[in-house]
């Protein structure tokens, strides 16, 4: 076998700038301030997205119709995590789930505050909002059983 040596390298990922069309995300975060979910509906096929994109994936047309979505929904799938997304072990197992909120087609991922033994597909949950909502992702503290 040939002799090899290891040379460390890295990419300075922090230097990436991403231009994003923020209407859908801003609409969602503005909604968070009032403890509401706001998505965008495709006027052509009726698909309701959260967060809302500027175009419909299926119809390939501009979309811009805000719709209010209930903050109650159904668990469509879940996993019990023993490690965080970097692979670091967690002190306590964490339940994360994808929830379809009533009136929405997209599934939204979040942490469910419940005993890992109780979680199941089809479980009804609602959003536990922070007391003081400011319009950021942390406003949605968790999902809790209805």
């Amino acid at each position: 076998m040939e002799e090899t040596r290891i040379v460390h390298g890295y990419w300075e990922l922090s230097t990436f700038n991403f231009n994003i069309e923020a209407r859908g995300i801003n609409l969602m975060l503005e909604g968070f301030k009032e403890k509401k979910l706001k998505g965008i509906k495709c006027h052509q096929c009726g698909m309701v997205y959260l967060p809302g994109p500027f175009y419909c994936r299926k119809c390939h047309v501009n979309i811009d119709e805000p719709v209010e979505i209930s903050d109650h929904g159904t668990v469509r799938t879940y996993t019990v995590q023993y490690a965080d997304i970097r692979g670091e072990p967690m002190p306590e197992p964490r339940v994360s789930a994808m929830v379809q909120f009533d009136g929405c087609d997209s599934w939204v991922m979040g942490v469910v505050q419940c005993d890992p033994k109780d979680i199941h597909v089809g479980m009804r949950v609602k959003i536990k909002w922070k007391e003081q909502t400011v319009g950021n992702m942390q406003d949605m503290e968790a999902f809790v059983p209805e």
Partner: protein, 381 residues
């Protein structure tokens, strides 16, 4: 224009850690293949490089991989998706009539050179999914497994049945890296949990891999091999990027890719006409999910089929008789590993794993979290 295109030869290397450089890996694979065939690099009309810049750690990474592959002052192009897409591209280049041969050169050192599974996060949306901070390759796979099992009413035991079937076969395959003794249901079930419902042995092992595949026109194939394996059809399809917008309980893109491939190959009753399938199922649930979506198993009957042994060698439709991706898998190279195994079966060179009378095979490759993109190739002899 060429009439048809054959896979004429390949060379494959994989290990948890190949202890080599990227340049040496592609050099050894191409030099080794040329020596076996008694040719040199000038016999290759077109090089289709197949790797991922992020995983190679350099942008437009073919700049340093072309020369060690033999492509110095040659026609060269690149595919960053799974290797089956590179094979489709090579097929097209030969069918154009411009080229008689195309060499696919594929690699990913994901066993030893990057953190396993974690790099997939950098394919996610920086504005949303990365901000939510709960999704990575493993949690995505677990969410898909749970959604699928729940939708179909299958028990979690199906995951153990699939993994045990694959790992028992992988144990007999010298090209696999995860070769376990007593790789049965009990061993799978007692492996450590990763993200429920997935356990360690439901997931592919991080793998260093490289592969070269030589394609040739009918005329050129006759000079290079007496066992050509023909590319009869292929198809490709891609689902939406955002995870929350996907139907995780099935794969519409695998269904679409397979439909295109069947149509091109002239297959009207694929589940009967295909003798076996090599599917890139990186996690145990993906094998029945993809097989159902591609029409190889009736939807809703996968658990019954696995319990009855229908997908084992000797069953009505053997799936992954090589042991599949739970034995070894790396991005880009993954689909080519499945393709090489299918080629060996069709040539009657699969040794202890040889199936009787295998003449038509389905080969599948995937990209993106939970197989966002799917590619299908139909091979035949």
């Amino acid at each position: 224009m060429a009439e048809k295109v054959a896979v004429v030869a390949f060379k494959l290397a994989c290990a948890p850690d190949l202890h080599t450089t990227r340049e040496r890996l592609v050099f050894n694979l191409t030099r080794g293949l040329f020596d076996e065939l008694g040719i040199d690099r000038h016999a290759i009309d077109s090089f289709v490089m197949n790797s991922n810049d992020f995983l190679d750690g350099r942008t437009i990474s073919t700049v340093f991989l072309d020369a060690p592959s033999g492509a110095y002052l040659k026609d060269e192009t690149k595919v960053e998706m799974d290797g089956v897409h590179a094979v489709m591209y090579g097929w097209m280049r030969i069918m154009s009539g411009q080229y008689e041969t195309a060499l696919v050169v594929s690699l990913a050192l994901t066993g030893s050179q990057v953190s396993p599974y974690v790099y997939t996060q950098y394919s996610l949306s920086p504005a949303y999914e990365r901000q939510v901070g709960l999704l990575n390759e493993l949690s995505g796979a677990a969410l898909q497994a749970k959604a699928y099992l729940s939708r179909r009413g299958y028990s979690e035991e199906l995951l153990d049945l699939v993994a045990a079937k694959d790992l028992e076969l992988a144990a007999k395959n010298p090209r696999q890296i995860r070769r376990l003794e007593n790789a049965g249901v009990e061993r799978v079930r007692s492996s450590g949990p990763t993200y429920e419902p997935l356990r360690e042995l439901h997931c592919y092992p991080p793998t260093d891999a490289g592969c070269v595949v030589l394609l040739a026109s009918e005329k050129k194939a006759a000079e290079l091999t007496d066992k050509p394996v023909w590319i009869k059809g292929f198809g490709s399809s891609i689902d939406t990027y955002f995870f929350g917008e996907r139907d995780l309980t099935r794969s519409p893109s695998a269904a679409d890719a397979a439909k295109r491939a069947f149509s091109m190959a002239g297959l009207t009753d694929p589940a009967r006409e295909i003798d076996f399938a090599e599917i890139s199922a990186l996690y145990a649930h993906e094998e029945p999910l993809l097989a159902e979506s591609m029409g190889l198993l009736p939807e809703g009957e996968a658990e019954k089929a696995y319990r009855a042994g229908d997908t084992r060698p000797g069953g009505s439709l053997p799936i992954n008789p090589s042991g599949g991706s739970l034995g070894a898998h790396a991005p880009c190279v993954g689909g080519l590993m499945r393709l090489c195994e299918a080629v060996l079966q069709l040539r009657g060179e699969a040794g202890d794993l040889q199936l009787d009378g295998a003449r038509t095979a389905l080969v599948h490759g995937q990209d993106g979290i939970c197989a966002q993109q799917n590619g299908v190739v139909i091979l035949g002899v």
